[in-house]
Symmetry: C2
Subunit: 231 residues, 2 copies
Amino acid sequence: MEIAMKNCMSCERSASCILGRLPETELREISKRVKSLYYVRGQVIWQEGVYRPGCFILCQGRALLTVRKSGEAKRRILKFLQTGDLIPCVNASHNGERIYNDFVVQVEAETPALVYYLPASSFRSFVMRHPSVATKVIERLSVVARELLHEIWISSYCDVRARVARVLMELQGAAQFERQPLLRQVIADLVGVNRKVTNKALYNLMEEKIIAIQDHKIEVLDERRLRELQV
Amino acid sequence: MEIAMKNCMSCERSASCILGRLPETELREISKRVKSLYYVRGQVIWQEGVYRPGCFILCQGRALLTVRKSGEAKRRILKFLQTGDLIPCVNASHNGERIYNDFVVQVEAETPALVYYLPASSFRSFVMRHPSVATKVIERLSVVARELLHEIWISSYCDVRARVARVLMELQGAAQFERQPLLRQVIADLVGVNRKVTNKALYNLMEEKIIAIQDHKIEVLDERRLRELQV
């Protein structure tokens, strides 16, 4: 637990973390209550209706917020979660009921990940004594809600080429670009269409010399035009 | 203010309201801090980046949570808000910055509406003294986030007929059904496609004798099959 606490004290993401900027004594207190959970790449960190309620913070590594239909492999990636991010599945009640039977919201480790978990009862009692943490959680969740609203608009009304351009702009420079075998599927999952449709849009961008694809590697040739195209 | 407070004390939606079940003394206290805002039908209650930060509760009437592209009439309806609902745009900071320049999240009165508004500073100080309210806000926002995730899946991967069936099931029996001239546009805005595509799906359901359309009125003839069709 001392390691966990030390991490918080020296964490470079403390500005964006809900526990960031807490006084040292309070960090020490919370470090006694958090459970450190380690995940390998691909492992499910949280799944609606299955995992216990509480508050999860991604302390190291990256994760994906996804939604899938029960029993289907197809997933939609909604958000890349970074170190310091709150996993937006906070549930302060003891009742971890699933809301939808057919759709599963899930958070998956995209890299090896360390997560701090505050069980619902600890989270509630901590918030009772440190309500400033609660207002941070509220703000973070409001931002997530607005990002999701934005995403719904895009999924409903914007064409696939513009959505692919947006995803490429977002992924550019990100570590995702280095793991090429995954990339096209990741793009498809982020855009919310199948691989065939994604490939067609990528091919189209290639023909216009906005991107180049060689040995399955995607390279952005004309960032200005890609930016113009994006949603 | 006494009227506002009285409403809270006798409100039949207190179970779902973030202020519900507070002791009378606390309700009295909060009633001194809330601002009662009245809206006519169609008026904007909240708009991202324009309205002041804080917490809004819909006390009477119905409202729509929508997203639109700046300068376009086209809107996507994300959620019907009912009496007692938190308007999911809580922002406890003084900084009401807009996150996206091109997309506007907005809450519109669908009927004449009464809203309680707690400005950011009052909301923060109230939460500091009543953290149980904060945990209710957190839970409500988590549920909204999950509903939006679900909606993103549906918008991405489900066909229009299934989505129209779902919307018809949801609207069935609701007051929306009574105001027929609006209905088809509301269905289109809820499904996230244009009216032409919506009409085609409705026509298709009519041909299969699942619904009837007469004098612009939509009637569900076969609820069982409609339920089977829905997402």
